[in-house]
Every structure is written in C-alpha cells, then in structure tokens.
Symmetry: C2
C-alpha cells in the first residue's frame, strides 16, 4: 500500500425517512430527506489492523465489512468530534471514508459508485444505517428519491445551505428501531417526502420532519421540549433520525438558551484531504 | 430578488466522447470521460440584464436560455481566467452557475437536478455542448455513463485528482464539429469509454483519450506535436474536446519546455461561494 491516505466525510442527519427492503443489500435502503454537516469524520488508513475511534479501539461492523469486501487488511483511524449513536451517521461516514481511502491506498481501481455501493452494503448488512452513506457521498441537503446505492438509488438535493446548531441528548439505537415494526414509519416518511417534493426547501423539510417525528412516536418528551423551546423564540428545529439529538437552523438553540454545538450544512460529499 | 448571489463552477475538459441525440434536449447528450478543473468560472447574478464576460458584454446563448426557462430577468456577470472556445466548457459553466444563482436569488425553489437539467437543456439547444453541464455539477474525473441530464443521464467518477497543466493553442468550434458527421466520433468514443471502464484510472483515461483524438481526426499537427513533446519527457497529455488545447498530468508541459498554466483536478462540482 502507499502512504497513509486520509478522507474527510461529512456527518449526516436524517430529518425524515421510510424503510425499503429488497432482496439484495445494494437495493435496500431508505427514502427521505437529510443534510450533511461540516462537523464530520476523518478516516485514515495505514498499515496494520483494527479500528480506532478517537484513539481508542472500537470495532465498527460496517468498516470491517468494507475492508473484507475490498479484500484488504488495514488499520483504520477514525477521528470525529461528533457524538456516537446520536444520529449523525458516524458509522456510515467511517465505512465510506474507509472505502475511498482503501481504494486509493491499495490501488483497487474501483469507481466512486462502486465504493459508495460497497460502503452502503456493509452498512445495511451491519444493520447500522440505510441512507447515510449515499447522502454522505453527495453532500448538502439531500433528497433520497429512491432507496439504495448506485445503480439502484436515486438522489436529488435542495440547493440551500447555512449555519446549524445541534444538541445531543443521548443515544437511540438504529438497529433496535429498524428491528421493530417499520410500516408506520414508512407510511409517514413517504408522505412527508412527497410533501417536501411539492415545495423543496430547507424550511419545509424541517416542518415536515417535525410532524414526522411526532407521527412515528420517535419523539420523546425531552427532545420535544427542546424543539418547542427553539420554536418559542422563532427558530426552526427537528429531531435527528435516529438519535436523541435536536438540530436547529442558524442559532436557534443558543437563542433558546441551550449550550449547543455550532456547525453548518456541508455542501460537499466525501473527499480526500490531500485533494482539497 | 435578494442580494447578489455568486456561484463557482469548475471548468470541464472532455477527454473522449460520443454523441447521442434524443427526441428531447434533456435526454440528448454525450457519453464519455472528462475532468473538472480548479480554474473555473464565477457567475454573479444581479439586478438588470445582459451577460458580461470579464466585464465586457458578450452574449452566451445557454445563459440566456436558462434565464428564459426560469422566467426571470437578471444581469449575469461571468468572471473566468479560462480562454473561451478552447475546450473548458465555459458556456456550460456559465449556464449552470446562472441556474444555481438565479434559483437562489429569485426563490424559484427548484431542486439541484432540475437546475442541472435546465442548464443542460439550454446548452444543448444552443448547440454549444453536450456533456459539460452534468460533469460540472458533479466535479472530479467524471464518467458520463449515459447521456443527458437527470433523470436520463447516469454519472460515475474515478476517485483520483492531482495537479494539471494546460496550454491553449486556439479555438475549435463545438457547433461546427457537432454539425458534421459525428458517427465516426461516436463509434470511437463508445469504444474508448468501454476501454476506460475495464480499468477506470486517470492514466488509462489519458491513454484512451490520446488514441481517440487520433482515430477521430480531431487532432491536428500542432496539438499532436505538443502531446508528443510531453510524452518524450515521460509525461502524460491529451487534447481537450473540443478546443485546440493540451492538458497534461502534473507538470508534464513545463517539463517539456512549454509556458503552461497550472491548475488541478477540482474534486467538487458547482457551489455557492457564500456556502463554502
């Protein structure tokens, strides 16, 4: 392999989604709306083996799935300021970053679509996500029109960006939610996506996300109280799917008195640090 | 409209291509391989009317087609260090930048795919390009697998980047070449694309581009001599389609003694300057 290769992948907050199972993992995925965050994940591939997150050994099944699919052995260092398990798609970002970095480091000569598919399949098979990878490859305010990775999935985007804030209140297990009855989520998510597509703007996406969180019962009292407090000061906020995290446009959370983390919509998808 | 809105769009050099006509302009386009350049185009929309390029009035039919399709009137200022008519897709970049900027300035609420389609259709109808717009929306080393704009076209990319140099020797008229017999170009271009897809790397793309330029007779003696001089010092170069321009990897042109312009593969597509 060549010298260490480093890839930057944005975080991804899903605002609303529906679940679509297919006979193969590449065609399985979610439809929905989400946004990528400038606060993201940096993945570095080097000689050795094992996955470290912020310096500590922590296995990520989707990352191991990518290495296995590419037939390579490497040490994967993931650095992130994002809290794990709170709805920022850290596992998807780590898998996608590993695919890009390993492809370059080992000269696998796969195309971008093939790498996105490899990471998406590993994430679906690990049960840790359904739509983060394809959104993180694209960047921006991403509309997942059809589920799955290329050539199955279909992506569009809302050409808006801007400042964001987030407040992470705790974890919500993606595998647990996905293992439950997802039919009501999918009915609400498909209707919400249609609503956004009628008028594809960021503020409309947040409004639909707000209703989606309530309809699906994924919103708990603590998260709902924070969203209401942001709205009380004229702000716009929604819950990250899936995490007990509130994301607000502009400075909505700090205006409501919360000690929130500042970030912004990242208009770009995964990229090599050495190319930027 | 809101305050002036500014969009940055990379240049795009097509390395090889085939022509595909369809009953509608959105499905018409080219297949092929190209790369976006960091040297690009900045488009600013403001009140008024008329198109200026580097401060001088200069109509660009594709830009006017975009404004008409969006139903808006605006002054469009295009700034670029790229030479016009030499194969960098300046008209496509100007059209795409106009679509993004006008959409935001006038609150048109179109999605990214709709804006790409609008710019692509305007460019095809103007006869000034077939594949630059979709590549410039994506960025990087772009594989145009299927012709046309979303939802017709299909894009992939080679996840490589790096330094480039170019030397512009003069213009070559895209409308004139496209008005001629394109069947031999399309046969050579489709075969060359298949060759790249068998092993999708940047160096293979240049090798296939080199053969494509010869097979199609688009290569003239002066351009051929420069490419050979770069190869004589161990470099890699190809002709930009369509312009009398040589593009080389790394510092191939200056190593061969030419006074070339330095640039790099731009890994990103069109973006708002205010979001970056």
């Amino acid at each position: 392999m060549t010298d260490a290769t480093t890839v930057r992948v944005p975080g991804h907050v899903t605002l609303l989604f529906s679940v679509h199972e297919a006979p193969n993992a590449a065609a399985t995925g979610s439809r929905g709306v989400g946004l990528t965050t400038a606060e993201g994940v940096t993945v570095r591939i080097g000689p050795g083996q094992g996955v470290r997150v912020n310096g500590e050994r922590r296995p990520i099944a989707a990352v191991e799935g990518v290495l296995e699919a590419l037939g390579v052995e490497a040490a994967v260092d993931v650095e992130t300021a994002l809290p794990l398990g709170t709805g920022f798609g850290v596992s998807g970002a780590a898998a996608l970053g590993t695919a890009f970095a390993a492809n370059r480091a080992f000269g696998c000569e796969l195309t971008e679509n093939a790498l996105v598919r490899t990471a998406h399949v590993a994430e679906v098979e690990a049960g840790t996500g359904l739509g983060d990878v394809v959104a993180q490859a694209h960047g921006g305010v991403v509309l997942r029109l059809e589920p799955g990775a290329p050539p199955h999935g279909r992506i569009d985007a809302i050409p808006e960006a801007g400042r964001l804030e987030y407040l992470a209140l705790g974890e919500l297990s993606t595998p647990t939610v996905l293992a439950g009855d997802t039919a009501p989520i999918t009915a609400a998510g498909d209707a919400a996506l249609e609503g956004v597509l009628e008028r594809p703007t960021l503020s409309r996406s947040f409004a639909r996300a707000r209703a989606f969180a309530e309809e699906t019962g994924l919103l708990d009292d603590e998260v709902a109280a924070v969203i209401e407090a942001v709205e009380a000061v004229g702000g716009t906020a929604a819950m990250a799917m899936l995490g007990r995290t509130v994301v607000a446009l502009d400075d909505g959370l700090s205006r409501a008195g919360y000690d929130a983390v500042e970030t912004a919509v990242d208009p770009h998808g995964a990229r090599f640090v050495e190319d930027a």
